[in-house]
Symmetry: C2
């Protein structure tokens, strides 16, 4: 599947679901913590566990999700598995979100739809 094809798909009716799924991949503090751990480069699962403070099965689950969503990539090395951001755009998207937050997101923590 080429980028052009995917672009075409985005124009179709399922575009909303795809976008929603991408954003949902980024909508969890645990996954953001994992991505955060990967901004500085490749890391093994246990390094991510240490850096994020999350449980190991939990990290594995989220990594599986992030991998399926194409946000991270994976490289096996012996019994270690090293993850990295799949694309510079991932960090860029997070960075842009921060800029949007700085500009308009002052009240975002008062959004009552989400209680967490």
């Amino acid at each position: 599947m080429t980028a052009r094809d995917i672009q075409d798909d985005l124009s179709a009716s399922n575009a909303l679901e795809l976008r929603a799924k991408l954003f949902r991949g980024l909508s969890d503090p645990s996954r953001l913590a994992i991505l955060n751990a990967l901004v500085s480069g490749e890391r093994s699962v246990q390094e991510i566990v240490a850096h994020s403070g999350l449980g190991q099965p939990n990290v594995s689950n989220h990594l599986r999700c992030l991998l399926d969503c194409g946000l991270v990539s994976r490289r096996t090395e012996g019994r270690f598995v090293r993850y990295r951001l799949a694309d510079r755009r991932v960090a860029s998207l997070i960075h842009d979100a921060d800029r949007l937050l700085a500009a308009t997101g002052a009240g975002i923590d008062t959004c009552e739809r989400y209680t967490e």
Copy 2:
């Protein structure tokens, strides 16, 4: 801004929750449909209802969420309430997400963590 600075920003502890909340605001197909309806300009609630195919209370609920999150702004005019995107960056973020999807998102619909 350097990668180092981004790293530092990402280290702020409550930044993760804020970012997660912002992305969560964008992680629902209904809300994306609403934002999509607003890309071309200001619209009343019923126009959004017609454009998105969602129920009116549902739209109101999501609009409340988007408003609290600072993603849209609101203007009352008689008994109409007209909404618009709060910032060009909102559309920009969605656009960037589409570009990321085009580049790496081929498998995002196969992510099994989300079944919808």
